[in-house]
């Protein structure tokens, strides 16, 4: 009974991915299932077709910069709140979390209004900044969790042994926070990679990210590369979160109690 229920959920979650995986193997330029012949040519096409390759590179670089900036915004907030909970700290934390809680069109429309008014509409850095703001809450959650796992007595112990504030940051905080920093970066990176609406409203008319390109292909002509690159994105997300799970405690990161 339990197994059947879990299997049904598993099937529901896997079905769309399985279909596009099947479609992506078509030997001909068509989106049919079951596939007409089996070929990996549409996976090769991601690398060989310049427009898809560029879209992928664009997406990856935007995601890398945006995730790094999101971490750079989140880290000081989590650190300051860990040091001392102040009203100002709480307000900044709330601002960091809000964009992600509100519907994404809000951030997208705000970005569109802001960047066009500021005269930077279409510049590539705008999507990096807006993504970073939108995804700040992800590293903020993981880092806050990370800091809360550092008992104050740990820091005090280091101080009694001769560590000044800089030494505490270097020898205690940095190594203990690193796994949470990496997973926060990973979450922001993967979500930025997949984000469509904010990217579209900031640089939609000047650059093509992968989601924008897939959307355009949906409207102006199907190609099996849509399927192969979608499968690649699923695999990439699974790989990244798998690595987070491999080198960290995923259940704990998602809110389960510490393993005893």
């Amino acid at each position: 009974m339990t197994r059947l229920f879990l299997a049904l959920i598993g099937l529901f979650l896997a079905a769309p991915v399985a279909i596009i995986a099947g479609v992506s193997l078509n030997a001909q330029q068509s989106l049919v299932f079951p596939p007409n012949g089996v070929s990996l040519r549409w996976y090769a096409a991601i690398a060989t077709q310049a427009d898809w390759r560029n879209a992928l590179l664009t997406s990856v670089s935007i995601a890398a910069f945006a995730a790094a900036l999101a971490v750079a915004i989140a880290l000081p907030i989590a650190y300051a709140l860990w040091r001392r909970t102040t009203v100002v700290g709480r307000v900044v934390q709330l601002l960091g979390v809000s964009p992600f809680v509100l519907p994404p069109v809000i951030t997208a429309l705000g970005a569109l209004a802001f960047w066009s008014t500021a005269g930077f509409y279409g510049s590539s850095f705008t999507v990096v900044v807006s993504h970073a703001i939108f995804f700040t809450s992800l590293p903020l959650v993981t880092l806050t969790l990370g800091f809360s796992s550092i008992d104050r007595e740990i820091v005090e112990a280091a101080r009694t042994m001769g560590a000044d504030e800089r030494a505490v940051r270097r020898t205690i905080l940095a190594p203990m926070i690193r796994p949470y920093l990496v997973s926060g970066f990973a979450f922001a990176f993967v979500l930025s990679l997949n984000e469509y609406i904010i990217a579209y409203m900031t640089v939609g008319f000047t650059m093509e990210t992968v989601p924008i390109k897939i959307f355009n292909a949906l409207r102006y002509g199907y190609t099996p590369v849509m399927a192969s690159i979608s499968v690649l994105f699923v695999a990439l997300a699974a790989l990244v979160f798998g690595l987070v799970a491999r080198f960290g405690d995923l259940p704990k990161l998602l809110g389960a109690w510490e393993r005893r």
């Binding site: 008992d151 007595e153 005090e156 009694t160 030494a167």
Partner: protein, 345 residues
């Protein structure tokens, strides 16, 4: 000698006073226990000695040197925390080496010292292990080794054994005491466990409400408690109200004890269980009924009722005792009760 001296040390948080003008002198090479119930200020006092908190008033001196203003990381004390505070991201060896590395010691010196310290706490060869691979007792030893790594002038332990189970805790108390004697290092232990204090301390400092009630050798504190609270907190005791009468004292239960002079009209007596003498019915001044007998094997505890008062008496192992419900008489060993004037209660 370089005694640790506290001079009017006070800590206030807003309107509450956690530590209230404490004066203490801790002689070089001794082990002193700060003993008291939770919230009595003992941990705050230790944190001020360590430099983790700044006193609101008063001074801390090592010998003639005032250290009140010296930041914690420059004091060079060793401290064991209640949670042990071992660094989870470092191996056992790296934990112990931590203070040595901060001092810029050479690699060879550090390795030799870590080995030496692990031998000292009887955990040889575990340098490479992760903290999570150790048992509670082993972690305890690593924390002690780490705190001793730089041969501190003062060794501070904040409820160091509270995480251990009862048996291990008692064994570690003895071991810690022997280690301290061997090293001759001035040591302060915060504890709420009176047995721990009795086991380890040269001097016990009993605290309550941010004040020091008494400081003395443990057995002196036990035999001559300064207040009824101290009598009750350190070991078991019977606290009984008494009134002055001609030639003796009248207990609340109505019994009359001759030859007990009270300093005031009414007083509180503290009588240790081992000072209560059980006699056949009618042969002693206090009539009582046996309510419950706890035979621990190593000793017998007898719980009695005398009028309104409940009294506990101890007898040696194997002593014959009246059965539950049996009527007996009680006597008090002459000179044994501690007498407190009523206003001290």
């Amino acid at each position: 000698m370089t005694a640790l001296v506290l001079d009017g040390v006070t800590k206030r948080y807003g309107a509450t006073t956690a530590v209230d003008a404490v004066d203490l002198t801790i002689p070089d090479g001794t082990l002193v226990c700060l003993l008291g119930p939770s919230g009595c200020g003992k941990t705050t006092l230790m944190r001020m000695i360590a430099g983790l908190e700044a006193p609101s008033a008063g001074e801390v001196r090592m010998g003639s040197e005032t250290i009140t203003g010296i930041p914690v990381h420059k004091r060079g004390f060793g401290m064991v925390f209640q949670s042990l505070a071992l660094f989870p991201h470092l191996s056992v060896g790296d934990n112990i080496a931590y203070p040595l590395r901060l001092r810029g010691e050479s690699r060879g010196t550090i390795e030799a010292r870590v080995r030496e310290l692990l031998d000292l706490v009887q955990l040889p060869g575990v340098e490479g292990r992760a903290i999570t691979q150790l048992s509670g007792g082993q972690r305890q030893r690593v924390a002690i080794a780490r705190a001793l790594a730089v041969a501190p002038r003062l060794f501070l332990l904040d409820e160091p054994l509270s995480a251990l189970d009862a048996k291990l805790r008692e064994a570690m108390q003895v071991e810690l005491r022997l280690l301290q004697e061997r090293l001759g290092i001035t040591t302060i232990v915060v504890t709420h466990d009176q047995r721990e204090a009795m086991t380890m301390a040269d001097q016990v400092v009993v605290m309550r409400g941010g004040r020091v009630l008494q400081m003395d050798r443990p057995i002196e504190v036990y035999r001559r408690p300064a207040t009824p609270f101290v009598a009750d907190f350190l070991g078991q005791t019977n606290l009984i109200q008494a009134r002055r009468e001609d030639g003796g004292a009248r207990l609340a239960s109505g019994a009359f004890l001759p030859d007990l002079a009270l300093p005031s009209e009414t007083a509180l007596l503290s009588i240790r269980p081992e000072d209560v003498i059980l006699l056949p019915e009618g042969e002693g001044p206090i009539a009582a009924e046996v309510e419950f007998v706890r035979d621990m094997g190593s000793a017998v505890e007898i719980y009695l009722r005398a009028g309104e008062a409940r009294i506990v008496a101890h007898r040696e192992a194997g002593a014959a005792v009246a059965p539950t419900g049996g009527r007996v008489s009680l006597g008090i060993r002459p000179g044994a009760p501690s007498v407190f004037p009523a206003e001290a209660a």
